[in-house]
Symmetry: C2
């Protein structure tokens, strides 16, 4: 059984508002990381509405609590996804921008090692792999 929207918001220690619920719901049903604007329109499509600023504020808050993962893409827009086990990586299609999650982290083992070798305290990493997805290959 997955986490409910309320479970997720409860962790934040903040007001459980209509806007925030809407944002979380969209993120939960998303198959890909979404931009703030994606979320804004998805909420609208559901019949309700959130201000774009509120979407940003909610995402920032959630990121600061490690509830969402912010992915900064080359196109100048950030995408967000609910955090699963700390982090997750994606295979991103450079043609259609769809992305599929990779179910493991290729760095897990190396990270500690690389940190030690350079005397860094490692706090995290970002990884994205780019390519052409099956669908776009056909076209």
């Amino acid at each position: 059984m997955g986490k409910t929207t309320d479970d997720i918001l409860a962790k934040i220690g903040c007001k459980n508002t209509k806007s925030r619920k809407a944002v979380v719901e969209i993120l939960q049903s998303a198959e890909n990381p979404l931009s703030a604007e994606d979320i804004f329109f998805a909420v609208k499509k559901q019949g309700s509405s959130v201000n774009l600023s509120t979407v940003y504020r909610t995402l920032d808050l959630m990121e600061s609590k490690s509830l969402v993962n912010k992915i900064v893409m080359g196109d100048g827009k950030a995408r967000y996804e609910l955090t699963v086990d700390g982090h997750r990586h994606h295979l991103v299609c450079t043609n259609c921008h769809k992305s599929v999650p990779i179910d493991f982290c290729p760095l897990e083992k190396m990270e500690k090692d690389i940190g030690m070798r350079n005397d860094f305290d490692i706090t995290g990493h970002k990884l994205e792999i780019y390519g052409i997805c099956p669908k776009c290959k056909k076209e």
Copy 2:
């Protein structure tokens, strides 16, 4: 013997201008990936000057020819470095923003595998590892 500025520009197939030379020179002597603004000021410090737009145009051009590697960081500014062997990764200090290059690619072996498993044609990847550098640890 390293490549000269002219060697690098020759590959582009474009005019060899004062501005472009200046940008390449700065990139060559840089120890870290630099932002467009960093480059702009570094050129100024040398006594010459380039317009910021020109810096961006030069970087875009070079990126399109795979002569520089554009790194999109979480702080909203892109950094650029001369390409070495296709790509290179960094350990980035989240406190002072200094970065040290990692002398190998942790993904080399896995990439092909991941691509096959997902039926993607892999074209590249971006990886950055974050942490606190030795110097900042002390403070």
